[in-house]
Amino acid sequence: MADAAAALHPQFDDADQQRTAANLGIWIFLATEILFFGVLFAAYAITRVRFPEAFAAGSRLTNLPLAGINTAVLVTSSLTMALGVHAAQHGARRALVGWLSLTVALGCAFLAIKAVEYRIDYLEHLVPSLNFRFAGPQADQVELFFYMYFFITGVHALHVLIGIGCIATIAVMASRNSFSRAYFTPVDVTGLYWHLVDVIWLFVFPVLYLISRSS
């Protein structure tokens, strides 16, 4: 039942305390995620500074149209998630389920497009240590670029996958009337996680696909 008292865990005194704890908890978790990805961005930046031409050459081989579409898909999914949280705040159950389902669909679309992109990369012989071939100069360093490309986008895709699982769970809970205007913390918390995954992509996209692309 969507009763705030029923959703109160025994270690908390009241719903307010529980909400504060959950919100602080997710923000700390998001901080750990940023440090987690921070290592990858640092390793990428340092390697890129050492081999700027090779990394620019690698960037030019990435699939900009698909990644551009994917960026739009993911940003839109953040909008639908935000609308879902808005619906939860107003206790609009059907709207909530609808927005969450749409978010899941957009997340799946992102992964599907990413899979197509990986397949094209494979066919173009861009997968390091598997079938990598590059005719130009500094082939080893270009391969290093693609190693970082697959590593970063792979870890990000894993986060998208986890996010889809969480949002789907929340959608099922919402359809079973588990939330109310007084209690929708799981929706809030999952939303914050999804936005972070989105924000990380907004850094991944320019860093891998756009920098020095036209030079």
Binding site: D13, F29, L35, F37, L40, D140, L144, Y147
Partner: protein
């Protein structure tokens, strides 16, 4: 309320004594005990490796084990002791047990995450033990690239996976503590009424949360590079081995503070109780803990003075390292000032705590030798470094862990430990520790490098001293295990507050009921309100 109070008069230990109830428990106190049992077993494995090392070093030539086995022994000693004993030691055992009790809460904010953290820890430990049985790892606990990524033929990937998994248990514990301290404090428990143990847990948790992800991703990069033969660390592949060291120490230097800051919290509680004085300069002690945690993030480069980082970076890291000694010294002076004009008594926890102050001071001062750029060139990778960090980690963290275990044993188990045996072991550990590690300062200064199984014959006398001390340490660690287990059945029943100590954990029964307090406590006085004179508001 009344029916609930009657139903739960039973202690947290009593209700439902079967395996399933323990393995699915959400009670922070039981999870603390699960962690205690687990890390005790792992301490045994790490300690056995150390004993083999000390036995082998009795003679200048490696006669007991082969050189390859020796490499695996010190690697497994380091991996187990750092990640599977010292990092979780005080936070996951005493911290788990005490944080909710000390802030006056019924449990941690996220009990299920807490249980998950224990399972992750066990999973990580099993991976590491598997690697050990399958043949071990020979990289040292630092996994330096490119040896780890390219050249080592030992089970690097399995061990790194184990550490990676255990890292998530650290993150979950840290997250839980930060949220609990922020949002679960009892009425009247303001920030500056929190016991210093809570401040130390809070600072430690911030480090756990902010540093551990960096280690996790670094190990992942290292492991993938090892498997696929391409990556960012091996120079032959276009990588940068210094990058690995920077990332590794960005975690592993703060990790030193994960080990010793909780020990500082334990020492503050014990010293204040057994000299019947409030901790001198309470606010400065709290600020000093936070300062140590903050500075701890800015000094990692002092592990790399001779690794080829720039001289300018080295200079800055050296100066910042000297800065850490300021809050550390504040703490030592304030503990000493707390003792001044106190009614000092020498129960076993107090002996451990006093030992902690002395050994931590030696460990800290020798750290200044190593922070000096010039001197470090001579001392780097010698036994001087080994002695220095063992004074902090064993002399500091392990002494405090034992002190804390004795201090809160009556609260945890409801039984008293045998005081005479405990005092004997506290003194034995102190003597054994100094006999083991002080000679290592000398032999290191004379030039004996670490991680070598063979050494020139003129160093033998110092190594024999050291191994003799290690045999005393074995007794100092095994005997408490025996009498603490004995006390579970035969020890005298403990009262709610056997030490007449201050703090919310002593206001509930020993052992506490499942929900910690029958009624939510209301705090009306500062921490350490010992003695009437200092606190006219009382």
């Amino acid at each position: 309320m009344n029916s609930a109070a009657i139903a739960t008069d039973e202690s947290y230990l009593g209700s439902g004594w079967n395996w399933w109830s323990w393995l699915t428990t959400l009670d922070h106190k039981r999870i603390g005990i699960l962690y205690t049992v687990t890390i005790t077993l792992l301490f045994g494995i790490g300690g056995a490796a150390a004993a083999m090392i000390r036995l082998d070093l009795l003679t200048p030539h490696s006669q007991l084990v082969s050189i390859e086995t020796y490499n695996k022994l010190f690697s497994i000693h380091g991996v187990i002791m750092v990640w599977f004993f010292l990092i979780p030691s005080i936070p996951a055992t005493l911290g788990n047990f005490l944080v909710p009790l000390m802030v006056g809460a019924r449990d941690l904010a996220f009990p299920r995450l807490n249980l998950l953290s224990w399972y992750l820890f066990v999973g990580g430990a099993l991976f590491t033990i598997y690697a050990l049985l399958a043949g071990g790892v020979d990289t040292g606990w630092t996994f330096y690239a490119p040896y780890s990524t390219t050249f080592s033929t030992s089970h690097v990937f399995a061990v790194a996976t184990g550490v990676f998994i255990a890292g998530f248990s650290s993150i979950l514990t840290g997250l839980n503590f930060v949220v609990t301290v922020h949002s679960m404090r009892a009425p009247g428990m303001t920030w500056f009424r929190l016991p210093l143990f809570i401040w130390s847990m809070y600072a430690t948790s911030l480090i756990l949360v902010l540093a551990t992800p960096v280690l996790a991703m670094t190990l992942m990069l290292m492991g993938i590079e090892r498997i696929f033969g391409i990556g960012v660390f091996d120079p032959a592949l276009g990588g940068d081995p210094l990058l690995f060291q920077h990332l590794f120490w960005f975690y592993s230097h703060p990790a030193v503070y994960i080990m010793v800051v909780p020990a500082m919290g334990v020492a503050s509680e014990i010293i204040s109780c057994f000299c019947r004085n409030p901790v001198f300069g309470y606010r400065f002690m709290a600020y000093a803990i936070l300062a140590i945690a903050a500075f701890g993030f800015l000094v990692w480069g002092h592990h790399m003075f001779v690794s080829g980082q720039s001289a300018y970076a080295g200079t800055v890291f050296s100066l910042l390292t000297f800065l850490v000694s300021v809050p550390s010294a504040v703490k030592v002076f304030n503990w000493t000032a707390t003792l001044y004009k106190g009614h000092v008594s020498f129960e076993a926890p107090m002996l451990y705590a006093l030992g902690f102050i002395g050994l931590f001071t030696i460990g800290g001062l020798t750290g200044l030798f190593l922070a000096s750029l010039g001197l470090d060139v001579q001392l780097h990778d010698t036994y001087f470094v080994v002695a220095h960090f063992h004074y902090i980690m064993v002399g500091g963290a392990v002494m405090a862990f034992f002190g804390g275990m004795h201090f809160w044993w009556p609260k945890i188990t409801g039984r008293m430990y045998p005081e005479g045996w405990a005092r004997f072991c506290a003194i034995l550990t102190f003597i054994g520790f100094n006999l083991t590690f002080f000679p290592q300062f000398i032999v290191g200064y004379l030039g004996m490098p670490r991680r070598y199984p063979e050494y020139p014959p003129e160093f033998q006398v110092w190594n024999v001293f050291s191994s003799a001390g290690a045999s005393l340490l074995v007794f100092g660690y095994v005997v408490p295990l025996v009498y603490l287990l004995w006390s579970l059945r035969y020890g005298a029943h403990a009262s709610a507050n056997p030490w007449n100590a201050k703090g919310l954990e002593w206001e509930t029964t020993s052992p506490p009921p499942s929900e910690n307090f029958h009624t939510t406590p209301v705090v009306t006085e500062d921490a350490y309100a010992y003695g009437p004179a200092e606190h006219p508001h009382g």
